[in-house]
Subunit: 341 residues, 2 copies
DNA sequence: ATCGTTATCGGGAACGTTGCCAGTTGACAG
DNA sequence: CTGTCAACTGGCAACGTTCCCGATAACGAT
């Protein structure tokens, strides 16, 4: 606990704290000998500057906050790995918070991170967030924020997303080309950017292939598949339609596995009766029964690009800012669940 | 950015900072009217004490550090959820770091967290950590640490683990009772507490059922299944034995899925040719092909108990300390991969 | 009138660091 | 011998907060 401070060094070497400080910072106006003396002593005593004191002084912390819905999700944990790999190399620390898709938690986490003087924020919106004031306010006050994956339309800043439209289009098209006619879409709340983009891709693919769009084939699950009963109800509703779907395109990790679980439990054969394509980064897709056809997002890459943009924003405060929206390609990995022959 | 401070309040209300400070803290020696004035003004201006300043002053931060091997792992993310749920309620913040099973990273993270003045540490050891000085040193300097899951024998403090011996015993016994005779064990480096305990349970089960223990049936994967080729090599070695195993008991998430992937790729039928039981908390065990028999750890509970112990340690510095080792029961969930009829 | 008490408040130091402003030397030109 | 200028170093304030110590006034009690 008794960490050594600059003051201790000053006392031991009979110097002033300022001198020590400048010596350690290798200032030109310090006698090389003194410098050497200080540096060696500091080294020997294993001196580490106190980041808290520095933060207090400079209102900077060399750390960035990450707010994501949850970490128990392959997409987000890969995202984090991407973020960390870059941030680490650039000398930034990463502080992770989960919103658990709750608006209140997101706000609380945001406030805490700000009071902790993070230099910037990386955010993927909670599914239940509709009011964006807490972020808008911060941005106006000059805090750099970069959004990724689930991004708000209303805020102007750098954003990194997957090409959801193309991914959904490709997935739907794949199902169509595999012979499916009645393709359902199980997705998240409509006010997520993801949802509308994927929905649009899905619709466009239907249209381009002369299939009708039927609103009753689209189900929005507010809790993103985390509440089983909601899933189950949504799927049950679709199955009870006069013409039940012969394929389901699911829009997230949890929705996909949740859907598979429900079908399995109902003894509905995949893909014979219903084919599935999931928008998911789940790691064991090819170990599933049946192996899952998936639209995979370049999560790691997304994380990396997002930090890069953020750190650029932090270190070169906006030259009143052209903001970028980077849209990264997804890849469709075809396995058996889509019934592709 | 221009957060309001106690000084601002003092100036605005024509008081001294000390008075404001005490008013906010509801000190008895402040005139109730003054108090009201201050509190209302603070409320109106949305005053929040600066945690950095507090940390500097008290060398306390009301936050705890968590160092785990990796987040992209169901066991650990559940652990985190358990930790957060309790810590949050007790007014502590949780700062998560991944060691990625690297000793250097573990040390770096530890140092950073300590310099950031976390009030305590929750640690699950990196698989490549053998030198424990960085933790021992901290403990001697009075920093509360609680280990969980992967714990060191050499350090005396609270520990929370799963009952690895019993879990492994039960898994092995289950395989034996399902008619398997040549049960292999795919596991992590031997210097992890987990590994030895699970190995012991495995051995004991063999012995109790009059099966010979054969060292060539035990493979230690240093990278815990994260490096596919290592997995593959280990499994290949076992398959090339004169008497290849008819069952494999795998000791972790990644080892389990890795093993299944290799068998699948080699077109070895599970469980017909080789049965599998995995020590894993993977969420989609029943969606796998075949559904996976698993020894599940009460990860959430483990996390919760560990924080409780840690916070107790933080808030009631050791009454020279009876240290607890809590061992929580695992549960064997039987599915098809073990070939149970 | 003097003193102790109580109630209420302000001053200043401290946490660790940096940066500005001032010294204090010594050398050297004038 | 003085003035100037480097070269080097020290003092101090500041970041936001708390806490110890006093200070002030009112008010009985002595």
């Amino acid at each position: 606990m008794e960490a050594i401070t600059i003051k201790d060094i000053a006392k031991a070497l009979n110097l002033s704290t300022s001198t020590v400080s400048r010596a350690l910072r290798n200032s030109y106006e310090i006698n090389p000998e003194t410098k050497k003396l200080v540096m060696e002593y500091a080294e020997r005593m294993n001196y580490r500057p106190n980041p808290i004191a520095l933060s207090l002084k400079d209102s900077k912390s060399k750390s960035i906050g990450v707010i994501i819905p949850e970490i128990a999700n392959h997409f987000f944990s890969q995202l984090i790995n991407g973020i960390e790999s870059i941030a680490y190399n650039l000398g930034y620390h990463v502080v992770i918070f989960q919103s658990h898709d709750s608006y209140e938690r997101e706000v609380a986490n945001t406030n805490y991170l700000v009071s902790r003087k993070v230099d910037g924020l990386l955010v993927s919106l909670a599914s239940l967030t509709t009011d964006l004031f807490h972020f808008q306010d911060l941005m106006e006050r000059g805090l750099p924020i970069v959004f990724l994956d689930r991004v708000p339309k209303e805020i102007e800043t750098h954003k990194v997303v997957a090409d959801n439209f193309a991914g959904a289009y490709e997935a739907t098209k794949h199902l169509i080309q595999s012979g499916r006619k009645r393709i359902a879409h199980l997705t998240s709340p409509i006010y997520l950017s993801n949802t509308t983009e994927r929905l649009a891709g899905y619709k466009q693919a239907l249209e381009d292939h002369q299939l009708p769009f039927d609103e009753s084939y689209v189900k929005y699950c507010h809790y993103g598949g985390k509440i089983v009963s909601e899933n189950e109800a949504a799927i049950q509703e679709m199955l009870s339609l006069p013409e039940p779907p012969d394929a389901i395109f699911t829009a997230s990790d949890k929705l996909t596995t949740g859907c598979m679980a429900v079908l399995q439990q109902k003894k509905i054969r995949i893909p014979d009766e219903i084919a599935i394509v999931g928008f998911t980064n789940i790691g064991v897709a090819d170990l599933l029964n049946p192996p899952l056809t998936a639209v995979v997002q370049p999560a790691m890459d997304m994380g990396q690009q997002a930090v890069e943009l953020l750190i650029r924003l932090i270190e070169h405060p906006q030259k009143n800012a052209e903001f970028e929206i980077r849209s990264l390609k997804t890849s469709l990995i075809i396995r058996q669940s889509s019934g592709h022959s």
